[in-house]
Amino acid sequence: MHGMKGHYTAEDLNLLDEQCQEIALELGLPLPEVFFELVQAEDMYDIAARGLPGRYSHYQFGKQYDQMKRDYDAGKGRIYELVINTKPVHAFLLDGNSIISQLLVIAHVYGHAVMDEYNVYFEPADKNILSRVHSGADRIDKYIAQYGRTEVEDFIDSCEALQIHARDDQLSKRKVSREPEFKTEDFDQLFPEETKKRRDQMLAKRQQWRMAFPKDPERDVLGFIEEHAPRLEDWQRDIISIIRTEREYFHPQRKTKILHEGVATYYHNYIVHKLMNQDDRFDADDFLEFQKMNAMVLHPRIHTEMGYDENDEYGPMVHCDDYNPYLLGSTILKEVERICVDPTKEEKEMWPWAGNIDPQQKRNEMIEVYNDVDLCAEFITPNVCMKAKLFMEPRSVKKYEHLYVDEDEAKRVSSLLTKRAMTTGIPVIEIVNGDGRNRGELWLEHRWDPEEPIGLDEEYAHGTMQHLAKLWGRSVACHSCLTPDPEIEEEAERMGLTKRDEPEPVWYYCEPGKDCTTHTSLDF
């Protein structure tokens, strides 16, 4: 921008903000109010390390803070977009960044703000979260003064080890099982023996149900501990409740990461392009600077290593071991936009709305009701895979056509990403028994995917179980499986043996204050 290289004032930013708002409104959704705060690098790392400004004091945040500072000092600084879902929305701009990167962030933030405002999964979000965060931080400060920093920080570490296991959906009603009842049937009197048998079975079941604790498997591990752990002090229960409150804030973000970043990226691209087109304060250099940053944001996560392609030729291979949510989300939105106006024959068959809907209406509908699971299950097509560089098989980079993705591979990508979006990459863990072996043991069940059983990392399971035992105050056990070794499975198949139905079970068991151990059964 003319005369603004490195020098700009808050007024300049305000003008940009107003221009961004004007253009963003063209996308069809009223904008929530956003407050941008210009902060110094230290404050930015502080907020970024915590995820929420003013969160409680803990050494782990300090570690992340150091990491970011080191990266920054090493020249690996990056553009931060930090948006806090409050009313009004709070966002942060790093003081000293170029005016073009400030523009990119401002435009990007409006996409996030729109998602936070309209997406159904953010409906339960507490828009006053910051005051609760601050009150929590104050209370934890008090506990640190009273019980010692190490004691409190260690306790938080233990909670953090388990905080990720929460109830899946904040929106849906929980199923609650009822006490089994005996239902009389017609002609019962004609078959007294059968009826008695049926009644006895029911009575046994009812007895079992009455003794069961919890009645239904519980996924909110920390919640269960907060309520039922026998030996926690009040301050410890309070810390658990603080961590659970803050977890609720992050939960919908995890469910909508791809869509969130996709919408934000879509917004910033639309706004910046339009603004640079219509405002002659911007020149070609500004546009190039923006495109350079945009390319960094949208860089696919691909890696190159040496290997063999299908012709057994040795050479560099690209493969992707992860996806970039910014790239994937915005690619999907753009693809959907095309399908709305210019669908192929197959696409018309697949989506009845294809070709006869306003793309803006479709996009805003997606903003309102989709999450990552829906997005991955429905829209990961070969086109999307090629554009977002999602491959299941490593590719030779010698031939460009090798980057082609067919229907079958796209389906596999879609199924993988859908599964991952469902669990957000976290093993599903349920509490199934709060009084194991009648001595108060806490039993967990790892619900592995029967189609593709993957066990737990043993070292991490042991570490986590120690934290759990510390919180529960009594012995804890977790039932999981060993990941079947594909080579052994193949070998067995070759020898004509049938595949096992179930992978080998494994129990992790830990007494408080002792090392966790691995067992094949709990009979000891």
Binding site: G51, S57, Q60, G62, K257, T424, P427, L456
Partner: protein, 369 residues
């Protein structure tokens, strides 16, 4: 107005938390060093020591990574998904000797160190006890008083820059503490390789600690068999001898050197002696008397008994009734300055150092084992 400089979002915990994290790492390293202190490699290495930092992992239930097709949950830039990634791996820190000393020796000190002779006043003590108009640290009380003095007449309630008062320091000369440490080591035939190694390690770390903490400490080295010799540092750590044992010879030599060269008016006296406790029976009475006399002049008389290792011919002897430590104990306490400790492996060397030089124990009377 939608862009502003400050809107009262609290920050500033980052720097503090980072300090807490560093403290934690430091504590862990220190703990590890203490276990490692008996290791040979820590001494013979090229001055750098590798210390693994464990426990920095953030445990969570994660999938068996070896067989999982792809990496962990994708967490892009931006801080919205804080805390979803499995924790950082173990890492290693390389420390040089100076850092090692700083960590280890922070909790050690010479017990009962008294200032001697006021002629030596090199050591300056810094005291924050004056008030100045400029300075780094504001003095609230002084500022308030100044403010009251100024405003009592006018009734003006606002603070002005002129009111500010700061704490200031001045250098206060402090009488210097001079100390001499006598180190006596048994090098007789019954001291096997294992016992000598422990004794050397103990003295090695003691010397390092003294040189690290005190600028003006004299160290006298004495090695003894059935008679005692004053030797230089190199000889002390490297001399190999054999022969019988008469512990009293060492204590007598200490007494003699002390009387000749280190008057108690000028010097704090410390005596350390390491042996396997295998003394000539008839000599024990003499040793006890010598120790009693030394307790009257010294701030600490420490005796380290090294239990024989499993490979030694004398294995198990030191716990027998005629070991020197047992014998001394049976005679009662020669004075609160005397203390003894028994070690049987390299791992216990740190414990012994703490036993003699623990900072917290300085003001309490040292217990007799």
């Amino acid at each position: 107005m939608a862009v502003a400089k400050r809107q009262g979002i609290p920050t500033g915990r980052g720097e503090r938390d980072s300090q807490h994290h560093k403290d934690r790492v430091r504590k862990q390293i220190t703990k590890h060093l203490k276990e490692k202190i008996g290791g040979e490699d820590i001494i013979t290495g090229d001055g750098k020591i590798r210390v693994p930092v464990k426990g920095s992992k953030r445990y969570q239930f994660i999938f068996d990574r070896g067989k999982q097709e792809e990496g962990g949950p994708g967490d892009g830039p931006g801080g919205s998904g804080a805390g979803t990634e499995p924790g950082a791996e173990d890492y290693e820190v390389w420390l040089d000797m100076k850092e090692v000393e700083q960590m280890l020796f922070a909790e050690l000190a010479l017990p009962r160190l008294k200032p001697k002779k006021e002629t030596d006043t090199e050591v300056a003590d810094i005291k924050f006890d004056t008030i100045a108009i400029k300075g780094p640290q504001i003095d609230k009380k002084a500022t308030m008083r100044r403010h009251l003095l100024r405003t009592s007449a006018t009734g003006d309630e606002d603070f002005e820059k002129d009111d500010l008062r700061y704490m200031s320091y001045r250098e206060k000369p402090r009488p210097k503490s001079k100390a001499v440490v006598f180190m006596a080591m048994d090098v007789s035939g019954s001291m096997g390789d294992h016992e000598k190694q422990i004794a050397r390690l103990f003295f090695y770390w003691t010397v390092r600690f003294l040189r690290f903490r005190y600028d003006t400490v004299d160290v006298r080295f004495i090695s003894h068999t059935s008679d005692a010799k004053e030797v230089n540092e190199h000889e002390f750590f490297n001399r190999v001898e054999s022969g019988g044992t008469m512990v009293s010879s060492a204590y007598r030599l200490v007494e003699k050197i002390q009387q000749d060269r280190y008057p108690t008016e000028d010097w704090n006296i410390y005596v350390l002696h390491a042996s396997d406790g295998d003394n000539w029976q008839l000599d024990n009475e003499e040793v006890f008397k010598s120790i009693e006399r030394l307790c009257k002049v010294a701030s600490l008389v420490g005796y380290l008994e090294i239990a024989h290792g499993e490979n030694s011919l004398f294995y198990g002897q030191s716990v027998r009734s005629y070991g020197l430590q047992k014998t001394l104990q049976s005679k009662g306490s020669p004075g609160p300055e005397f203390t003894s400790s028994l070690v049987s492996s390299e791992k216990e060397v740190w414990g012994a150092l703490r036993h003699f030089f623990a900072k917290e124990a300085i003001d309490e009377s040292v217990q007799v084992n």
